[in-house]
Symmetry: C2
């Protein structure tokens, strides 16, 4: 490469971000974290949701919610820029999502899951991605109420990704599959 490579400044990155329009699907995409334990993971979810321009973040059960300094630290302030809503009872979110015509996609490794790369919804799909606890995943009663289940293909000797990494990969998939 040339020896005149210039990194973008924070302001230049912000301006470039503002000039881009994410594919339409992202503005109808909702990220839902139920019974996620770690504030670090919640903060990271906000940061990634901001970067990819998702519509909102839903939190339920014992998932910690803003304002908390531990969330804000990892979110780098994205907990103030991304709309969010918390309900102890996931049924509240579910009812509203159903009313709004959302498909609920549970992110879980099950015998009924489709591989993420094979699922490429149309750009006008309203999709909510449900992530469960870091260790135990989505509880059976909520798994059962999902419209579809998705898993990220893996090839390794270990059995799962970190939830923050899974969220990044999944959101990128929906972004990339609708880019021109």
């Amino acid at each position: 490469m040339s020896d005149k490579i210039r990194k973008k400044t924070t302001r230049e990155i912000y301006l470039a971000n503002s000039e881009r329009t994410p594919p339409q699907i992202m503005s109808n995409l909702i990220l839902w974290l139920h019974n996620v334990r770690s504030m670090h993971n919640v903060g990271s979810a906000f940061r990634t949701a901001d970067a990819f321009g998702v519509r909102s973040v839903l939190l339920s059960g014992y998932t910690p919610h803003p304002p908390r300094p531990e969330i804000a630290k990892t979110a780098l302030g994205a907990d103030e820029s991304v709309p969010w809503s918390h309900a102890y009872d996931p049924g509240e979110h579910l009812a509203r999502l159903r009313d709004d015509g959302y498909l609920i996609a549970g992110m879980e490794q099950t015998h009924h899951s489709r591989l993420l790369p094979d699922y490429r919804p149309g750009s006008d799909t309203s999709l909510c991605l449900l992530f469960g606890n870091e260790v135990t995943g989505i509880e059976p009663q909520w798994l059962d109420r999902c419209d579809l289940l998705l898993e990220i293909p893996q090839y390794g000797k270990k059995h799962s990704f970190n939830i923050s990494v899974s969220i990044g990969i999944t959101l990128y998939h929906f972004l990339a599959c609708r880019l021109p």
Copy 2:
């Protein structure tokens, strides 16, 4: 969904992973972390590298390297299943990568970077992905020696992803773009 959804057990996940073959590009893909500070991030990089079946992980500068309990904890043991190599001087890795015909792709937001979704190399490409420090990124002298620079498109009010999330997104991109 049906009320008979059954999650995969750890053993079933492992068996499914073993039966899948990752696209050829993954077996020629190397992940390189230079001057990455956090053991949590190094551990997460190993875990993601294992899941996506990359060839090896290179560590350089002050990037912590195995064996360290803090790395093993986040890696869930992937630091023992993924081949890795550490050198204080990045030039050592660079010389070997050049000898082996590797392209070096620096992951950095610069005025010369291509957007990740637009870069779809052939399946026989030997590619090394270089990630720099969590805050300051890749130092100018190493940026300058990359063959290409890539950045993940962003649309938000904040200016970057967490490095663990970036690694997951980037590896998924190369996997997904070579899947049938």
